[in-house]
Amino acid sequence: MNNTVLDFGFTPDQKDLQMMVREFGEKELTWEKMREFDDRGEIPMEAYKKAAEMGLTAITIPEEFGGAGMGQVENAILSEELGYWNGGFATTVLANGLAFDPVLLFGNDEQKAYYAKYIVDGGFAAFALTEANAGSDAGALRTTAVKEGDEYVINGCKCFITNGGVADVYTVFALTDPDAGARGLSCFIVERDRKGVSVGKEEDKLGIRTSNTCEVIFDNVRIPAKNLVGQEGKGFKIAMTTFDLTRPAAVGAGTIGGARFLIDQCVQYAMVRTTFGQPILTNQAIQFKIADMEIGTQAARALVYRAAEMLDAGVVDTTIAASAKVAGSDNLLKVSAEAIQIFGGNGYSREYPIATIYRDAKIYQIYEGTNEIQRMVIIKSMLKAYM
C-alpha cells in the first residue's frame, strides 16, 4: 500500500487512529470477506460489532456521553480508512454520526445522553429526512407531527433511509406546521420500539450493498414532547446545519479512501499485467491515467481535510464543505471508471473488487444532497459575498 503523503500534519493520536482503522480494515473488510455481503445486500454484522466495540461508531459522540469525543478531522480519517476497503461499510458506520449530529448540535444534555447510549452500546441510528416526493427539496416533505397534550403524533413515510431497517433510534424530520413549508419542519427522536414504527421495503441497490437502505413508516406514532430536538419550526435549519458538518468527513473522505484503494490496485496490477512482452505500466497511456487519478485524489483530499479542520476550528463554510463533497465524489467516479479501464476484462469481473467500487462510487454524488444541489448551495453561498 502506498503510505506516502498521507500525513496532513496529523497529531500522534490521529496517526494512531489511522493505523488502528487501517489494520481493522485489512483484517475485516477485504473484498474476499465483503463479497458475500455485497452479493446478498447485507451489513457484515460481525465486523460492525467489532467496529462498535472499538468505539468507531461513536467517534464524534462527546466523551461525557460515552463516545470518543473526537472532531471532524478524526471522523474524516475514520471515513477515509473504512472507505478504502468498503464504501458500504463506511456508510453504515458514519450514518450513526449523521443521525446523532442534529441532537449533538441542537438537543439538550438529556437527549444527547439518551440518544448516544443507543450508539455507544453497539446499536444503529438513522437519519430520516428523505421522502418519496422530497429528497434534496426538503420543503416538500409530507410527514407530520401533531401535538396532542404532552405528546406528538407522527404520521408519514420516509424512504432511502440508511440503517433504516436495523436502527434502534431514528432522527425524524416532520412538519409541525404543514402550511409553513420548510419553516414548519421540526426534528424528533423516535425510538424503533414505539408503537406504529415499521420498516417497509428494503432497497436492492446498485452499490454500497453492504449498507442497509429502507423505507420507514410512521403510523400514528406517539412520542413524548421531550423528544422534540431544538424548537418547533427549526427542523430545516437543523438538517442544513447537520449537512454542513457531515459533508466533508462522512461523504468527502470516504471517496478519498476508495480512490486511494483503486490507485494502489492499479499500480500493482499494471506492474504485473504484461502485454506485448512488457508490463502495461511501461505504457505512457497507463502512466498518465494513474497520474491523473493521483492528481484528482490529492486535490480532493486536501480540500476534504481543509474543510474538516475548519469545522473543528468552529468555522462553518458551506462553500468549502459542499466543495469537498463534490470534489471527492466526482473524482471517485472518474477514478473508478479509469481503474476498470486499466484492469480491462478483469475490472469488469466481480472476481476483482474494482467493479464494486465503480458501483459504490455513484452514491457519493447522490446522497446527503446531490452534487447539483451542492453546486446550488455553493453559488448561493458565494453570491452573498458579491451582494
Binding site: P12, L17, K50, E53, M54, G55, L56
Partner: protein, 268 residues
C-alpha cells in the same frame, strides 16, 4: 490474579535481511511490531481478566527505547501497567542472558506490583525463533512451566492450561506462580478501542536501567560477556528440489524399484 506478560518488539516482515558480515538482522527501515505470539499471550491474560475484573496485567519488554511503542500497543489491548528494561549493558545478550535479565527485572517489578501469579510469554519471537527465553525465565525463577498453550483458565491458585501436543490438546493444571508460553490459538487478539488507545498513549512507562538492578544482578551474566551463544555463521539453507516419487501398483513393487535405484546409484 496478578499477571505479567513478556513482550518483544520484532521487525514486521518475513523477508528479514541478514547482514552478511555480522550475521545479525538488519533492522533499519523495517517497521516494528509486537511479536505475534506475545500478542496471543497478552490475549490469554486479557481473557482471564475479562472473567476476573480484579485481575491485573503488567507488561515487561526488554529492548531499545523505541520498544516503548510495542508496550503502548499492548497497553491499549489489556495491559494495565508497563515497564521497559533498557540499557547498553544489556545489549548483545543471547537467550540465556536475556532470560536472566528479565527474571531479575521481574523480581524488581514485583517490589512495586506484588508477586505475579502467572508469567505469560509468547512461545517464541518471530525474529530469533529460539523459543528459549520463556522456559529459561521459568528456570531462573524456579517456577513450573507450561509451553505451547492455547488458552488458560484461572481457578483459585490453580491455572488450567489447554496445551498443544502432537496428537491434539492436553488440559494441564499448574499451581501458581508459573510460567506459560503461548502459541497461536484459534482466536485473534482483540482490537484496541479508540479510548483504550488514547489512554495508552498517555500512560507513563518507567524504564528499568542497569543501575536499578545493579544490586541484585550479576553483571558477568549479562550482555555479550554473559552470553555463551556465539553466532558462527548465518545462512539460508539450499532449497532441495527434484525428488522423485515412486508409486508402483503395489508397495512391494515400489520397494523393488527403490532398491534397484539405490543400488544403481551405489548408495546400497
Amino acid at each position: 490474579m496478578n499477571m505479567l506478560v513478556c513482550i518483544k518488539q520484532v521487525p514486521d516482515t518475513t523477508e528479514i535481511r541478514i547482514d552478511p558480515v555480522k550475521h545479525t538482522l538488519i533492522r533499519d527501515g523495517v517497521p516494528s511490531i509486537v511479536n505475534p505470539f506475545d500478542a496471543y499471550a497478552l490475549e490469554c491474560a486479557a481473557r482471564i481478566k475479562d472473567k476476573n475484573p480484579d485481575a491485573k496485567i503488567t507488561l515487561v519488554c526488554m529492548g531499545p527505547p523505541q520498544a516503548m511503542d510495542a508496550l503502548k500497543t499492548c497497553l491499549a489491548v489489556g495491559g494495565d501497567k508497563a515497564y521497559l528494561v533498557s540499557g547498553r549493558e544489556f545489549g548483545g545478550s543471547d537467550t540465556l542472558a536475556t532470560s536472566y535479565i528479565l527474571a531479575t527485572a521481574i523480581k524488581k517489578i514485583e517490589e512495586t506490583e506484588g508477586k505475579f501469579d502467572i508469567i505469560f510469554c509468547g512461545k517464541q519471537a518471530i525474529d530469533g525463533d529460539t523459543a528459549q527465553v520463556g522456559p529459561e525465565i521459568a528456570e531462573h525463577l524456579d517456577y513450573p512451566q507450561v509451553t505451547y498453550a492455547h488458552e488458560a483458565f484461572a481457578e483459585g491458585d490453580l491455572v488450567k492450561v489447554k496445551k498443544e501436543v502432537d496428537e491434539g490438546f492436553e488440559m494441564i493444571g499448574v499451581k501458581t506462580p508459573c510460567v506459560i508460553t503461548v502459541t497461536k490459538p484459534n482466536f485473534e487478539p482483540r482490537y484496541p478501542s479508540i479510548k483504550s488507545k488514547m489512554a495508552a498513549n498517555r500512560k507513563e512507562i518507567p524504564t528499568i536501567a542497569f543501575a536499578d538492578l545493579e544490586s541484585i544482578i550479576d553483571s558477568g551474566r549479562i550482555g555479550l560477556k554473559g552470553s555463551p551463544t556465539k553466532v558462527k555463521k548465518t545462512f539460508t539453507p539450499e532449497v532441495k528440489t527434484g525428488g522423485i516419487i515412486i508409486k508402483e501398483d503395489t508397495n512391494e513393487a515400489s520397494a523393488k524399484v527403490l532398491f534397484e535405484r539405490l543400488v544403481a546409484d551405489k548408495v546400497m
